[in-house]
């Protein structure tokens, strides 16, 4: 049986669709002397065809084993495919297939999707597992095929996906593969089409809005000295969105609460001083607020709503939504959104004071 772990979809060079499958290869058993199959632990097969089903069939015709999609962990979609073709076809194919689980992770690839499957990972044996592990390592925001499907059929949401790309490996040992795959940010969808790619920083803003900013790092300049900076790693974050109507005008208040652990501090400040700590927190708050405001502006500019502003409005005033809901993409860019942030520093690692002399001590 051929166990497929990853699927990549590109626009073909000669025909409309190029489908690539990554098979886990049944290596030789340790004891048995049957070393019939040698080489890589994976096998990548690609075909171009008029549609996904045909491409799948053609790959199956070349595979000596029954192709099983039970264990597909990632579906990689090239940016170009998602922008120009839309992913309606692909989503239907995946959701309908009895073997495909909705817990797989859809990813947009900057560049050719196939190359991701061709790039061997380093800390894990197989690239699909590696990608899933990277996303899990990033924090609590799980975004799977199921979530995308739910968002796509809902009246209030639009979909988004994480993006990855293949880069030249900046550092490497002699045996290391020359390239590696990195998670770069996220992609916004309007309906079935990709409309905008977000940078990693913007993606963190998205995570804040979805109340899952865990493990992201915020960096701000020191209050006294703009040349020095400090960083905090987010431990918890919660965002509430409260819609209200002022004279018929819709307005949404976004309130962010976060708890942060300091991981780096070059400022010459003493954390024991409450006032100083509050100033540090204020700087962090500013950073978060600006980041979130930025990403909201991006959403508005693309008329997309991946984090559920519309849903909050609907839950808040169902009657208003019944009337205006269908025009949400038009209304949304005009909505006034105010962001407030409140960040508290909870821990500061194993150091209480900076590792250098503080301002106070110097002056003494």
């Amino acid at each position: 049986m051929g166990v497929v772990l990853g699927v990549a979809v590109d626009i073909g060079e000669e025909r409309p669709v190029r489908l690539t499958l990554l098979y886990a290869r049944q290596g030789q058993s340790q004891q048995g002397q049957s070393k019939a199959i040698g080489g890589d632990p994976i096998y990548v097969a690609a075909r171009e065809a008029d549609n996904l089903s045909d491409a799948m069939r053609e790959i199956a015709l070349a595979a000596g084993r029954e192709t099983s999609l039970h264990h597909v962990r990632v579906v990689l979609i090239s940016e170009e495919y998602a922008r120009t073709r839309g992913i309606r076809n692909l989503l239907d194919f995946l959701a309908r297939h009895p073997q495909v689980r909705m817990s797989l992770v859809p990813l947009v690839v900057e560049g050719r999707a196939q190359t991701v499957l061709e790039t061997p990972p380093q800390l894990k044996a197989l690239q699909p597992q590696n990608l899933v592990a990277i996303l899990e390592e990033k924090g609590g925001l799980r975004w799977r095929l199921k979530d995308f499907l739910v968002a796509r059929v809902s009246e209030t949401h639009s979909g988004w996906m994480y993006t990855v790309s293949v880069i030249q490996r900046p550092a490497g040992t002699p045996q290391a593969p020359p390239k590696e795959v990195v998670v770069t940010g996220s992609a916004l969808f309007f309906g079935d089409r990709l409309v905008r790619m977000l940078s990693p920083k913007e993606t963190e803003g998205l995570a804040w809005l979805m109340s899952k900013p865990v493990r992201s790092v915020i960096t701000a300049t020191c209050p006294e000295n703009p040349d020095a900076s400090f960083s905090g790693q987010v431990d918890q974050g919660r965002t509430t969105m409260r819609p209200s109507w002022e004279g018929g005008r819709l307005r949404i208040d976004v309130a962010i609460q976060g708890k942060v652990d300091l991981i780096r501090l070059t400022c010459r400040d003493d954390l024991a001083d409450v006032a100083w700590r509050e100033r540090l927190e204020a700087h962090l708050e500013k950073d978060v607020r600006e980041r979130v405001e930025g990403v909201i502006e991006t959403f508005k500019s693309q008329r997309v709503d991946p984090v559920g502003f519309g849903k909050r409005v609907q839950l808040n005033d169902p009657a208003w939504w019944l009337q205006n809901g269908p025009n949400w993409p038009e209304i949304w860019p005009e909505v006034e959104v105010t962001v407030t942030a409140q960040i508290s520093i909870m821990q500061s690692g194993l150091l209480l004071k900076p590792a250098n002399l503080t301002e106070k001590e110097l002056s003494e």
Partner: protein, 551 residues
């Protein structure tokens, strides 16, 4: 010489048509010639109707004819009393204890040498029984049939001129095994005594544990040829009278030539003869019998085998080992739960593996699946065939291990398992994972304390494997449901086989997956409808002295 004439005289004295015909046939036998076997058989067939003749020689003559020319049939002639009254002791050599015979002869020949004996009849019999014989048990046998049976059971038959009964003197004593630790049911903690092949010893072993006058023992003799002694034992007041009566009825119904082991009886009295599950428990342990008697069960002892039958028997009973009740209860409970878990493994281990690898790889975690597939790569058979091959081989190995003489057996099974397992994997015939699965299953099937239940599970396992190999998990569900329906419809002497699981009896759960502490088991299991259910008085638990009130 002589015996034919004596027998003829006996037959002529016995006034009946049957005797006349037998006499005619016997008269045709050439003097000194061999007596035809048919004639001996027809004489034996009439033995229960043959009275004892007052003439000693006639009796010995006919007895010799009936018994045939066996070297261990002994007639020891003697004379007793002052008037040299003629007598003979009829016995089967080696079934009697020689000391007893010597003692008997000493009494008869030496002590009574000077005595004036009553000449014959009632008076003589009374004299012997009341004043002469020192043995603890003397029975009167009124016909040749009883007499022969008594002799074959090890009694010595005292025949005297002028006496129309044969006095059976209990002189039983033969070579037998001493009670030793049962091989099949060993314990770490607990009595190391097991039943033997001798009925009397076995009964004594039980009596020693249950010193209660309410212990009722009923005797039966089953088997037209073997005449096996059967004892049915229960504790009056605890056992349900209906169950006791039903066991008796079923035993009485048996018409068979021989009972050589309690397994014969088991199959003849169980409720569902086609079920693979044992509905009667067999044990070699007297403590188990005693415990079951105390729970109101009926025990059936069979002469010639150390295996005692206990009924009614339930599924959960098969999962209880004697030692559960001797070890501390938390440990016993853990082991009990472990057994249920491994019962499932024993039944479903290989079949689950087959179903998952053949049909449902989606169930296996991805990384494990890749490992499994790598291990199975190169194995030329489907998982089902692979599993069947291994299981059959293993069963054969196990069987060989049991059948072969002990010193060889162990070596063979170890070497066999190593060689076959190791080389089959190396040769690429079997995947290493399958060896693991089969080994775990094998271990699991030994975890079931009652051997016959383990056998049933082993048998069903093959069915499950076939179902899993053809219909995957669906087949497994179907198979499990069939087994469950079967178990739910089984009854052992009126008691549902799955009590207390189905029907659920909350109170009896105390002895199911967990074995509750002894002080908690105040009542006997509910599975029997009546009977005295209180096991111990209230507040029988260990009492800690009050705080601060210590010595």
């Amino acid at each position: 010489m002589g015996q034919v004439e004596d027998a003829l005289r006996y037959l002529r004295r016995w006034q009946s048509d049957e005797a006349r015909q037998l006499a005619e046939t016997l008269a045709r036998v050439a003097p000194g010639g061999p007596v035809p076997e048919e004639l001996r058989l027809s004489l034996a067939g009439a033995k229960r109707r043959m009275p004892i003749s007052p003439v000693l020689d006639e009796n010995t003559g006919i007895l010799r004819l009936i018994m045939g020319p066996s070297p261990d049939v002994v007639f020891r002639a003697f004379e007793i009393g002052a008037d040299a009254h003629r007598g003979s002791i009829f016995l089967i050599d080696n079934l009697v204890k020689k000391d007893y015979i010597m003692g008997l002869l000493e009494v008869l020949v030496v002590r009574l040498r000077q005595e004036e004996l009553p000449s014959q009849g009632q008076a003589l019999q009374h004299f012997l029984e009341q004043r002469a014989l020192t043995n603890h048990e003397v029975n009167r046998n009124d016909n040749m049939g009883e007499l022969v049976e008594a002799a074959l059971s090890g009694d010595s038959i005292l025949l005297l001129d002028g006496l129309t009964v044969g006095l059976g003197v209990s002189t039983r004593g033969w070579e037998h095994r001493q009670p030793a630790e049962p091989v099949a049911e060993p314990v770490v903690r607990g009595p190391k005594e097991g039943f033997t092949e001798t009925l009397a010893v076995n009964l004594a072993l039980i009596r020693r544990r249950v010193k209660d006058e309410r212990l009722r023992v009923e005797h039966r003799r089953i088997g037209t040829h073997t005449g096996t002694d059967i004892l049915m034992i229960h504790l009056a007041g605890l056992a349900t009278p209906e169950v006791v009566a039903e066991v008796g009825r079923r035993l009485d119904r048996i018409q068979i030539d021989g009972v050589l082991e309690s397994g014969y009886l088991e199959e003849l009295i169980e409720d569902h003869p086609f079920s693979p599950f044992p509905q009667v428990r067999a044990t070699e342990r007297p403590d188990v019998v005693a415990a079951d008697l105390l729970e109101g069960r009926v025990a059936v002892l069979t002469d010639g085998t150390p295996h005692v039958l206990l009924m009614p028997h339930t599924f959960t009973g098969a999962m209880q080992a004697a030692e559960d009740y001797y070890q501390r209860w938390p440990m016993a409970s853990f082991l009990r739960s472990l057994r249920y878990l491994f019962l499932l493994v024993a039944l479903l281990g290989p079949s689950t593996y087959i179903a998952m690898t053949t049909f449902h790889h989606e169930m296996i975690p991805t990384s494990l699946l890749i490992g499994l597939m790598a291990a199975r790569e190169g194995v030329p058979f489907p998982a089902l065939v692979e599993a069947l091959m291994m299981e059959f081989t293993f069963e054969a190995l196990r069987e060989a291990g049991v059948r072969l003489p002990k010193p060889v057996g162990q070596a063979i099974s170890i070497v066999g398992a190593l060689v076959i397992g190791e080389s089959a994997v190396r040769a690429g015939l079997i995947s290493p994972v399958m060896v693991i699965v089969v080994s775990i299953t094998a271990i699991a099937s030994f975890v079931i304390p009652f051997f016959s239940m383990g056998l049933a599970i082993r048998l069903l396992r093959f069915g499950m494997m076939l179902l899993a190999g053809t219909l995957g998990f669906y087949g497994l569900v179907i198979g499990l449901l069939a087994v469950a329906i079967h178990l739910a419809s089984l009854r052992s002497f009126g008691v549902p086989y799955l009590t207390p699981i189905m029907p659920p009896t909350a109170e009896d759960m105390k002895d199911l997956m967990i074995r509750a502490p002894w002080w908690f088991m105040r009542r006997r299991p509910r599975e029997f409808p009546v009977g005295n259910r209180v096991r111990q008085r209230q507040n029988a638990g260990p009492q800690t002295p009050g705080k601060g009130g210590g010595p």
